[in-house]
């Protein structure tokens, strides 16, 4: 957080704290108050995103747990309900590190690991579309097209789900979308070698690595885009 904003208005610190605590009511209240006085982008970048980053770090060290991260993400979303319309009115795009469509692949009902990755990506500033578990291959593609996702992130705990990830790669190829969408894979059944073999752009051994890789992929794709 920049010192200036903090010094000028303690409500920025309050908003930060309410997101860390996962307090929806307070986060809404402070966002509502701040948005009439400060540029919406500044509020996100200086009060809200650092709070989610801090929450992610606490989880990484097991000082807080998944439900608390979930609550913080909800508080962030609640604040965004007031900030989002202002951004729209000013024709400013919501700041994001990238758009990610995420889900556990068809045939796999194990979604806890995926939930952790989705929340950690949110905590680090990604716009995340979580499709849930046992997601049919075509739905990843459909959603990615709909929201113009940068990354499709797929998780599989079971080895019997892995063939469905290969189907996804094939479908992306057939539709000519491989160059448009980055593919990340992870989960208990996925190894680094397998990820490379199917041509995935990134692999995360755990949530922390998934975030790191997603950030790197976005930086690389931006450089490529320039």
């Amino acid at each position: 957080m920049t010192q200036a904003l903090l010094k000028e208005n303690p409500e920025c610190r309050n908003l930060y704290d309410s997101i860390v605590k996962g307090n929806i009511e307070e986060a809404s209240l402070y966002a509502k108050n701040l948005v009439n006085e400060y540029p919406p982008l500044d509020i996100i970048q200086e009060c809200m995103s650092p709070a989610m980053k801090y929450v992610g770090d606490l989880f990484e060290r097991l000082e807080i747990f998944l439900p608390e991260v979930l609550a913080s993400a909800d508080a962030f979303e609640a604040a965004m309900k007031y900030i989002g319309p202002k951004l729209e009115a000013q024709k400013i795009a919501t700041p994001t590190k990238g758009k990610v469509v995420i889900g556990t692949i068809q045939g796999d009902i194990h979604d806890l690991g995926k939930n952790i990755v989705a929340l950690m990506l949110k905590a680090h500033g990604f716009e995340v579309y979580d499709l849930g578990r046992d997601v049919p291959v075509y739905k990843f593609v459909e959603k990615a097209e709909e929201v113009n996702a940068d990354i499709i992130a797929v998780s599989a705990l079971l080895s019997t789900s892995l063939p469905f990830i290969k189907d996804l790669v094939r479908l992306l190829d057939e539709k000519g979308l491989r160059s448009k969408r980055l593919l990340m894979v992870g989960g208990g059944a996925v190894t680094r070698e397998w990820a490379t073999a199917i041509g995935a752009d990134g692999y995360g051994e755990n949530a922390a690595e998934a975030v790191k890789v997603a950030i790197e992929l976005m930086q690389r794709s931006k450089v490529k885009g320039e």
Partner: protein
């Protein structure tokens, strides 16, 4: 005890809640309240809690969690609840000993207690690993030929005739049948045709499981299969079908509970409480006969990390003290067979399990990710478990801490994933290669320095 029909009826009539609400309000909030009420704390300085009061409180909190929360059935979107009498009836009727396996290969599987000096039951294999057909068979041979191994829990067949197995496909049934044929054949070659199998891992849905039930070349009544409690405190139709059909046909249900440390139960303390509740519920819902303690670290997965072993030690003591449940503690390592580090992980993890009321189950090297496992490191697990029966909790804690410091955190973060069985063994003669045997001998010397003399 409640019949399976009673269970289904309760699911049909249970309170409807969303999964998200169940995760947060029913599971996490209740766990948090109970931790506060009983003032339960995790002590990172110890692997094995020694306070009897603490162990009693963890059990009581777990019992209360089972009562307050119940179990969620995904397809119904409802919660099944039980009364205290029903849960206690489950405890009272749980088998404290069962005969598993057949003929000369049958063994008595019994409920261990803390600091139990009786020889533990050694369940060997790379549990949970997805393997190609040929590798599955050869690895199975390497476990079957180890006399110290009493029962086998060894991965699933993930590729049949070059075709990858898909969930819910016909191949899932074929893979489970093939898995059992491999295990039975390997058992016969090793001269142990009646050895107990905890198997049918190739099929995750009920399809594979049901296909594998067959006395000649499949799951027998003296064998067991896994019926997991889904994360956290949930079940679904597939799990219920598996539990019901095999039980009705006279088989043995093994409840696998594998919560994530950092997930909906919270940290190590919440996970320990959640384990107790999940075991009590699985006794009623699945009519479980034995149980596996498998804490998953949110980052490192392996059970050999300090938080994982603390949970194993806490749950093992709490459940073995207050019930006659037969418990297995998993041994999942970050390092693979062929490394020296794997022996350090096995040593710490096995000592903790054996001294705190569990039988050891493993070694699932590389957390089952790579097929880098063999009978030799599982022989070592069995040997450590047998000598660890001479330890009390205090000594066990000291030795386990020393070994843990050898691999954690550096070799947990940067594991040596080891090698496949073709590099570890001469598979024509099914003997470990000299270099691999030398590492095993060095490991034996290392544990002997701490009074654990393997003869």
């Amino acid at each position: 005890m409640l019949s399976f029909v009673d269970i289904i009826k309760r699911a049909e009539e249970g309170v409807k809640v969303s999964e998200r609400e169940f995760d947060i309000k029913w599971v996490y909030n209740n766990v948090k309240e109970l931790i506060k009420e009983y003032d339960l704390k995790y002590n990172p300085e110890e692997l094995i809690p020694l306070s009897e009061d603490f162990i009693d409180d963890v059990f009581e909190a777990g019992l209360n969690l089972a009562l307050k929360t119940g179990i969620y059935v995904v397809e119904y979107g409802s919660v099944i609840k039980f009364s205290e009498e029903e849960i206690k009836e489950g405890i009272k009727t749980a088998p404290a000993r069962i005969m598993v396996g057949e003929g000369a290969d049958s063994r008595e599987l019994y409920a261990r207690k803390t600091e139990d000096q009786r020889p533990p039951f050694i369940m060997g294999g790379q549990a949970g690993a997805p393997l190609p057909d040929d590798l599955h068979f050869i690895m199975a041979l390497s476990y079957m030929q180890e006399p110290i191994i009493d029962g086998i829990n060894h991965g699933g067949v993930a590729v049949v005739n070059g075709l990858e197995v898909r969930t819910r496909s016909p191949l899932e049934a074929l893979a489970a049948i093939k898995e059992l044929i491999n295990l039975r054949e390997a058992a016969r070659i090793a001269g142990r045709p009646g050895i107990h199998l905890l198997a049918a891992e190739s099929g995750v849905t009920a399809i594979g499981d049901l296909a594998a039930i067959n006395h000649e070349y499949g799951l027998r009544k003296t064998d067991a299969h896994l019926v997991p409690v889904l994360n956290e405190m949930k079940t679904d139709w597939d799990r219920l079908i598996k539990a019901i059909v095999f039980k009705v046909r006279g088989g043995i249900n093994c409840a696998l509970v594998d919560p994530v440390i950092g997930g909906y139960f919270g940290g190590p303390v919440g996970v320990a409480v959640g384990f107790v509740a999940s075991f009590l519920l699985s006794r009623i819902v699945y009519h479980a006969d034995y149980y596996i303690i498998h804490p998953i670290h949110h980052k490192w997965v392996s059970t050999s990390v300090p938080e994982g072993m603390w949970v194993l030690a806490t749950v093992g003591q709490a459940v073995s003290k207050h019930t006659n449940f037969i418990l297995f503690g998993d041994v999942w390592t970050s390092n693979g067979a062929g490394s020296q580090e794997i022996f350090w992980e096995i040593t710490a993890n096995t000592i903790v399990n054996t001294v705190t009321g569990s039988h050891p189950l493993g070694v699932s090297a590389t957390n089952g990710k790579y097929p880098h496992a063999s009978g030799l490191e599982t022989r070592f697990m069995g040997e450590v478990a047998h000598v660890a029966t001479r330890l009390n909790r205090k000594n066990a804690n000291e030795i386990a801490l020393i070994f843990t410091k050898k691999y954690h955190p550096y070799k947990t973060q940067n594991p040596d994933i080891g090698k496949p069985i073709y590099d570890l063994y001469d598979v024509k003669t099914m003997t470990p290669r000299d270099w691999w045997l030398e590492k095993y001998k060095l490991a034996i010397k290392e544990v002997a320095e701490y009074g654990l003399k393997i003869v």
